[in-house]
Symmetry: D3
Amino acid sequence: MAYTEDISSVIAQASQELSQINIARPEAVSRPGLKEQIVRFLTLIRSAMYPKIFGSDLNDPKRMKMTISSNLQQAAVLLNEMIEDVLRGEGDADGLTAQFIGSIVDITNVLETDIKAAYDGDPAARSEEEIMLAYPAFEAISIFRLAHKLYELRVPLLPRMMTEYAHKITGIDIHPGATIGEYFFIDHGTGVVIGETCTIGRHVKLYQGVTLGAKSFETDENGNPVKGIKRHPDIGNHVVIYAGATILGGNTRIGDNCVIGGNVWLTHSVGEGETVYYNKGDTN
Amino acid sequence: MAYTEDISSVIAQASQELSQINIARPEAVSRPGLKEQIVRFLTLIRSAMYPKIFGSDLNDPKRMKMTISSNLQQAAVLLNEMIEDVLRGEGDADGLTAQFIGSIVDITNVLETDIKAAYDGDPAARSEEEIMLAYPAFEAISIFRLAHKLYELRVPLLPRMMTEYAHKITGIDIHPGATIGEYFFIDHGTGVVIGETCTIGRHVKLYQGVTLGAKSFETDENGNPVKGIKRHPDIGNHVVIYAGATILGGNTRIGDNCVIGGNVWLTHSVGEGETVYYNKGDTN
Amino acid sequence: MAYTEDISSVIAQASQELSQINIARPEAVSRPGLKEQIVRFLTLIRSAMYPKIFGSDLNDPKRMKMTISSNLQQAAVLLNEMIEDVLRGEGDADGLTAQFIGSIVDITNVLETDIKAAYDGDPAARSEEEIMLAYPAFEAISIFRLAHKLYELRVPLLPRMMTEYAHKITGIDIHPGATIGEYFFIDHGTGVVIGETCTIGRHVKLYQGVTLGAKSFETDENGNPVKGIKRHPDIGNHVVIYAGATILGGNTRIGDNCVIGGNVWLTHSVGEGETVYYNKGDTN
Amino acid sequence: MAYTEDISSVIAQASQELSQINIARPEAVSRPGLKEQIVRFLTLIRSAMYPKIFGSDLNDPKRMKMTISSNLQQAAVLLNEMIEDVLRGEGDADGLTAQFIGSIVDITNVLETDIKAAYDGDPAARSEEEIMLAYPAFEAISIFRLAHKLYELRVPLLPRMMTEYAHKITGIDIHPGATIGEYFFIDHGTGVVIGETCTIGRHVKLYQGVTLGAKSFETDENGNPVKGIKRHPDIGNHVVIYAGATILGGNTRIGDNCVIGGNVWLTHSVGEGETVYYNKGDTN
Amino acid sequence: MAYTEDISSVIAQASQELSQINIARPEAVSRPGLKEQIVRFLTLIRSAMYPKIFGSDLNDPKRMKMTISSNLQQAAVLLNEMIEDVLRGEGDADGLTAQFIGSIVDITNVLETDIKAAYDGDPAARSEEEIMLAYPAFEAISIFRLAHKLYELRVPLLPRMMTEYAHKITGIDIHPGATIGEYFFIDHGTGVVIGETCTIGRHVKLYQGVTLGAKSFETDENGNPVKGIKRHPDIGNHVVIYAGATILGGNTRIGDNCVIGGNVWLTHSVGEGETVYYNKGDTN
Amino acid sequence: MAYTEDISSVIAQASQELSQINIARPEAVSRPGLKEQIVRFLTLIRSAMYPKIFGSDLNDPKRMKMTISSNLQQAAVLLNEMIEDVLRGEGDADGLTAQFIGSIVDITNVLETDIKAAYDGDPAARSEEEIMLAYPAFEAISIFRLAHKLYELRVPLLPRMMTEYAHKITGIDIHPGATIGEYFFIDHGTGVVIGETCTIGRHVKLYQGVTLGAKSFETDENGNPVKGIKRHPDIGNHVVIYAGATILGGNTRIGDNCVIGGNVWLTHSVGEGETVYYNKGDTN
């Protein structure tokens, strides 16, 4: 059998079957291009928030304001369009867009505290400029704080896609539902996971590989995880959690001023000011 | 010494020496552009499999079929070209291409079970749409299953480059040689490593940071790892392995219905239905 | 209140406040576009070093030399421009550029040993070609060695931005200040962190998730990490460190020929030739 | 008045008025992106017709056929989409697409005669390759013949947009409604205009600046040109028309084997085999 | 002499001499990138004026207004930047920008009359949509009217670069200094030239190849054309000028309601209502 | 008959026939991508010649020289590759490349005289900067002078493709074989045609629509134009030729200091210092 005849008939049959599979998919499947729109929106909104880093070098205050305003407007148009899309006609896209844009200054102010926390918390940090240019934590946390606002406004799909984009480029996976206080810092960050119902206080520092997750074995009678309940821990203020530590469960609470050592595995609460460390690993 | 004279002579000398180094490289070094072709191929083939996600929003069944067929054909042309390249004239590129395209529907059907597993296994998943749009596990597993087919067909280099691309964008590193059953899910995923000779059953769920790797110390008389032997564990059906667990060794088998706790480190087999947990980490 | 009036006034007010926040930022904030220049520089310089992998398939020695020379020259122009930028007029950008280009052949020669180490150290590696095309370790280590040279030349900001780019695409986070010997290999690599003051000998192999970090609790009287001191461990020659191991502290030294097992957590030195393993994790 | 206040209010007012103007436009205004689709379609269809010129260098007959088929399929998908768009639901887009694709071989065969005419008719032509790569006539005539087929199929808007694209890149303006025989050649071509109801025989050669247009003064009682009638001349077989000649009117017929000199202005018919030349321009 | 030595020394010497030539150029040479900025500005401003043609298909009035406003703002930022550039600090870039934006609605209203003139004046025009999508006259005249406003505001360089861009894509060369009334249409258009000091009334129609130029021989004592005086003709209202006609000289005036035939060459004035035609070109 | 069956079989059959047509084409058909390489080469080489216009704004002499050298080197590599391609292994690509690069400074010096001629010859020209940024004549003549050098070196195909690119973007069609002296200027330029065997002296100025072409009726016994002989006119020094003039024939010579009026049609020689004008076109 000649090649092109063979491959042509294979393609024809596969096309037929793939069509049937895809026609049968539920109609709710979302618009293609959404991923690209998410990335473009995040660039625009952060260019408005940090024009010197994401946009152009603007020494002239007048031109800076024009540029910020232009970027905000483009971001608003794009967000409005995406929200209408994911709401599929049910909900007030205009009002949600306005509320989101209205919260940008507050989000920027909170991010200023995160930049300060990075500078204070990392001996290797040379300047705030370096943090904004080269720290994955700044990428991940700035995207999280924007996504969290949309999550609060109950916009579907978009918040999760935003934090998943941050996950992809930083290895830091923060669910947009998490509640995180000011002065938050994550050093290195690869492998960090912060779950949907987690709450984190002010002045908290995490290292790479920290998991704030759901407790094992919380399954229903069918062996599936239970949905819609508090599943992730609460972390107090001024807490440091070192690399690879795993803290699990909706009833687990780490008190203020605690220090959790590297690779520690915790499924119970820890009182205020305590230090938990991992002291095994002897030489044989 | 003036700058441009200096830098010019430095460049001239470095060019001379780099040329000699590169001329001496073995001729087998592959074509540049291959990485970009891999990415384009994966986009085309997945646009044929998931036209609503990767391609365009196709409500018209006729146009959907035309688009799927067009994308499959482009993917086949590209794959045929890449296989000819890496085979360097030795082997049946046409037959291999036809066999690969002929397996696409089966691969798609298996991926349907993986999407279902993600939806059932993650309390935070809102819809199958969200899984296809925002879950790194879907990216990693869909690319793995395609690469695995090429690995089975003994196509060199391409399978590994495909899964390494998935590793790069998801942090999930699955060797294309691994054998993985239906209904497979990885939550969060950053840091997961699954080795070449690993076998995984049906309905298995992994969390971030899980390693299914080669046992330490399996070295030959020269201190190098031994090649070409069974080096990675076997995982049964309906197994859950929590974040950071490490399971090592070609003789290690985890039986059906086991649960392996977070951060557990295992180098021996575990019988059916058992639960292994990590219970250290006390407060001092 | 009509939508567009609402959103327009929200945008106007947010623009006003964001302008004030950004005008108040210190003038030292760096040029936008620097990230893109970094990526372009790394492509050019590595195209000069590995023309068959990053550039074009050059069988003609004469054309290869022309291409290498052309790429080196472009890289030099771009590097010169970036250094002038970050030095802000204070320093000898020309001399630094010449010194960097003058070291390229040495760096290439060291990277040859790293490629050999990967081939020898991974049973799954089929060819050196596969290592250069598909191994994240090659991406991360080649970028690190280039960045380290700039770090030695005391060029600010750029070295860190380079290794952070490598971190982003590989999940391997090596500070440009680290000192690393020949024949270095990292398998899989996601989650690896190597600190600024770390030293690593020859023939060292790391697995995914290894941290060579600062010891916990090294803080000053204000609770902040102490800056500018030796904070990270020293690793001898011919050492293997398995997945997830954590080695911390500036006084911690791992002797030659040691093997550190997976998930081990070490804050004290280990003598020559010893093996440290993790032996917990029993079945309940 | 401060700048940004001023410009902001100017923008606000202009936006308001431009919105009203555009909302009032008739709904028939076509989709944006159509121009880009036209260009992409012309590239795809001509890559199928001339794979060595527009596509890739295909020495392998099998791969050539795969590539042609793939490009044709993509072209068909795109054309189908554009036709549905411009038909706005009224008409048989599927049938029209099939008829168009079904005529591609005939169109290619006619273009072969045009390439031969260029080679025979231009002393400066070195090869057929040069004609396909560097002659604006080949661009303009190949696009015209494709557009003319769509015009015959009564597809609205697209044929005119295609020939206008050819006009833009070659300066040759052929209305898609014109009827043009085999072995057609235009030398240099800038400024050539061929009207909608023009007919041209076989073996005709035109030079730059030739107009085959509507006769002056053919206006209705309101002074406007009369629509929908024969307005442009008929040109016989084996006719040569030199640079800058102008031939006007629906009743004007140039017989077989005529030669029309440069800058000649003709509004009446010319019998078979005649030569019309312009003999003015004396030295004073 | 080996190739690379030869070519290297040739490049070195040529670089040296080209540097000296370019260092000696007057400092006034403008910023690179200006051409690209011009094109981007024209796209933005026309997207604000014709959102359905140049931008996106906006059926929602609210979103249309947001989009228009966003495009206008971006256009204003870009124009402001370009004006500051070409003014080199001398002049009121802010005020000029505001005046330009403030005139956009008036320009749009005049262009509405031009679209109407095209529809009424071309028997082949099927819809206003076709004119905006496929008529070079619409491209050329819309760009001219924008450039003319900047010319009136005495902005240097930019107006000429804009009309030269239009010339490049349409073959229609209108100097931005020309004064042109409402209801202006150019059919086909390739080769049309309209000089700087030309004035054109209302309801004028030109065909391809028409020149409204400077009279021959208007040179000073050195044989160079005289600068800064009225050099081009005045055209009245309701005038039609057919293909290839040439009308020259600053004292030449064509009265209202005239018709100028194809290829006519005129250097004297023509009274109201007259018809000038070219009646040569006989058969020999 | 269902649509997709229909269109699929149509595509299959058309692919089959198009494959046969293209397999039958002579092997000499050139590489795809050549057009894009031509454009890239012209950008590089002109960036070396005019770094402030085509490249970046270089105030630092050292960086300017580095940039010029880098662009020249890239241009040389690309030219070398293209020449090898079109020579198909027969000829000295290296020597030709070196000779071309070695002539760049001379070409630049001649172009300086062309820029001066434009400034002196156009009352509307405001600065040399405007000429380089906005005059199609500068585009067309600079590309012609580069292509002419390659024509002199007997490089096939490339010279013609370069001038055809210039034709496309300016409407000015100069054959690369023409011989043109210093201080050459073309005003407006659309429709200008200059033939292969034309010679033009110093200080010549042309206007739009001028043809310096082959005489009509120079055909062989088969009615085809005769190849390889002197076919186009010679133009002396200090000649001005106004818009639309047509001068034809290999024996036609225009003496020094002549002025040829607009629309004049000349097929005989004109003595030194004469003025030829067109004086017809009376009012009826």
